[in-house]
Subunit: 430 residues, 2 copies
């Protein structure tokens, strides 16, 4: 049973603060194991990758068999359910259209004293995308990572995806194909991250690695950071639904369960100004769980981390929502739009009763890779910006240098940096 | 003596690749020590901060004495050299003007089927800025970190700066004052990072921590990441100067030494198409080192990591520069402007013979916090973007939901997520 917290009762603040600081993730200590795998792949290349892959994923690949062939991709596309291919195509097009608007503009200008300044954006040259195997092998996540990279102009996108017991989700290949990615290797775990970071005889290294993974993948990404760039390390997913009593309890229950079914460590929270409605939603959750294909996962998540918070009015939900800083925030009440400007911390806001968060997971167009575990206080969802980088430009002529030199020399001297001062002064014959 | 590599000679590629992969930083293993400090500050608050501060920095502060008072700030401003204050003011104004152009615009729009989408940017609520003590206590770095945060709209900026043996660089207080920061604590090391991340009785926690520090500070930032956001972990600084034979060797030597004097692990590289000019620069470096206040540091950096690379023509410098991906890149030749679009990887480009990198350190207006150690291949310098975060907005009415529902349900089912499918279907009475 989820916990219930009632605002304006004794100890609410303590209970809420404790709730906020609950850790949902047990971080396995896999650093040593991962370190050894990275070192072997770095020194032995393909040989180590093949050996780890065959051992951990129960494959019998050779180095030549690591790459998915064009025929295998074509076969996956031909064999896929046509309606699903159409749905993935719609998703791809909507993601591409939305992300195209995120492309930052270059800026080059001359300031009042004639100094030329600029910010110039360029795409990262190559990106590796980790795709998990097994049940979390989601084609939608392939699109959410690969399409923004394509939009950014990344020339080379490489997918790694393990094939445990030889099984590869064909829809992952379909999604890759739709995103325009054809370089795919059937490898996973820390060995795949190592191959992407250091390169092997078969796999050229990339410049940045993105995508979700298990504890080994996360640890490997942390360890190769610096050699390559990485994206954020995503934690378990969460949703906060703010709902008044005018909603259908079954709709809200379904939204809470859509989050809970992801992972036993996922978290679903509802804030409502109607305690009776809160109870109806809890009953609906219990009723719906029974019929879910992932009933056990959803039940464990709701039991361990679910929460219903009752507030005296919706106004009181705003500061709580900003402290929770949810990855996904649904505003399911009539005046939702008026609340949007007052929500400061959220990965994504789903506005109104007809915008279930699930639309954002698939076909809304916005990205479903969003900051988890309260990190929306300081970070953003995945976007085109994750696949570009900015170079500053500065250009002075002799006159501008003369104008700025005295201040630069003064500051260099104040900081005790004699060569800094000289590098400016020498150009003025000072 | 710096190494010399000559392109188009046997083994150049091997030597260059080895040169690229040279590690300049010895990472001390301080993780265990830092972990203990963080845990104690987290559980004991002020008491632990005061004890560590007095022990490591040889202070005798009480908790009440950690904060710098308004009087102390006023005293520092009143006592500062007026020309230096003016130089800092010029720097502040130029940094503010440049960074104001980086503020990202919100985007809210309706797509062809009536779905409302948006990206909304908000400032991070509070930021802690770490400022090192001792010789690396640079007022210019205070401005480079605090001014973009102010421009972004961060309401609360907190500076921590240790006062080893009671000594605090008054210009750090002046720079803070000019940047509009008045909440300053005389603490440093892992204990300061812990205080900012977890809060104490005296110091309210912040949401993100930025700024450079030693190995303890870097390890502490890595460990509190997740609880708070952090900026990049900066490594030792580097410059790449591409210069033809028409330059004054003394100008280029001064530029190389301006980088080398920072740190024995700093790196100065020159690429030239004129071997004789290269030798003249090396002679000038040797001559100039002798007269520098930080001669020993500069000499060690140049000896251990300095490099002169001779190429047949400047054209050949471009692929090398893109592989080096220098933090600072100077283009000291007449046709510099034409090369700019062809440089893909660099933190900042200084264009032409009259733009020494040092101008960018102080008064150019662009930021001097830039990606080091080849990370310009995948990351950018500090900017306003580091102090804001983006929230996605999505809003559907019943009609849009009806349009997108079939594809969303199809994908949810393909991924085996029954509650996802239901969350959409239930709203259509499917």
């Amino acid at each position: 049973m989820a916990i219930t917290l009632v605002a304006n009762t004794p100890h609410f603040e303590e209970s809420f603060a404790a709730f906020l600081s609950t850790k949902r993730e047990v971080s396995e200590d896999v650093d040593q194991t991962v370190r050894a795998i990275l070192a072997r792949v770095r020194s032995e290349g393909d040989r180590a990758v093949v050996e780890y892959t065959n051992r951990f994923d129960r494959n019998d690949f050779t180095a030549a068999g690591l790459a998915v062939t064009p025929d295998q991709i074509a076969e996956a596309v031909a064999g896929a359910d046509q309606k699903t291919v159409e749905a993935l195509t719609l998703a791809r097009d909507r993601i591409a259209a939305h992300h195209a608007r995120q492309m930052p503009a270059d800026d080059r200008y001359v300031d009042p004293i004639g100094v030329e300044l600029g910010s110039r954006w360029t795409a990262i040259e190559s990106v590796g995308l980790y795709v998990p195997g097994g049940t979390a092998s989601y084609p939608s996540s392939v699109l959410m990572n690969a399409v923004p990279a394509k939009v950014a102009g990344v020339e080379r996108i490489v997918i790694v995806v393990p094939a445990p017991d030889g099984v590869l989700n064909p829809l992952v290949l379909v999604a890759a194909h739709l995103a325009g990615v054809s370089e795919i290797y059937r490898i996973g775990g820390a060995q795949a991250v190592a191959a992407l970071a250091y390169g092997t005889e078969t796999i050229r290294p990339v410049v940045k690695i993105v995508g979700p993974g298990n504890a080994y993948v996360a640890a490997a990404k942390r360890q190769v950071f610096g050699t390559v760039g990485i994206d954020m390390i995503a934690g378990p997913s969460e949703v906060l639904v703010i709902a008044d009593g005018e909603n259908d309890p079954d709709w809200i229950a379904a939204d809470l369960l859509a989050q809970a079914e992801h992972d036993t460590a996922a978290q679903s929270i509802m804030i409502t100004d109607d305690a009776a409605f809160g109870r109806s939603v809890e009953e609906a959750v219990t009723r719906q769980i029974a019929t879910l294909p992932r009933a056990e996962t959803a039940a464990a998540s709701w039991r361990d981390y679910g929460a219903v918070i009752v507030v005296p009015d919706l106004e009181a939900a705003i500061p709580l929502a900003n402290r929770i800083a949810a990855e996904h925030l649904e505003l399911a009440f009539a005046e939702a739009e008026a609340f949007v400007p007052r929500i400061r911390n959220a990965g994504a806001i789903f506005i109104g009763r007809h915008t279930p968060e699930v639309i954002g997971d698939y076909v809304g167009g916005s990205n479903h890779v969003l900051p988890t575990a309260r990190s929306a206080r300081f970070s953003s969802g995945l976007s085109v910006l994750d696949f570009v980088k900015r170079t500053s430009l500065l250009k002075l002529g002799p006159e501008q240098l003369r104008t700025l030199a005295p201040a630069a020399i003064r500051l260099a001297e104040a900081e005790g940096l004699g060569a800094h001062a000289r590098s400016v002064a020498i150009r003025l014959n000072l």
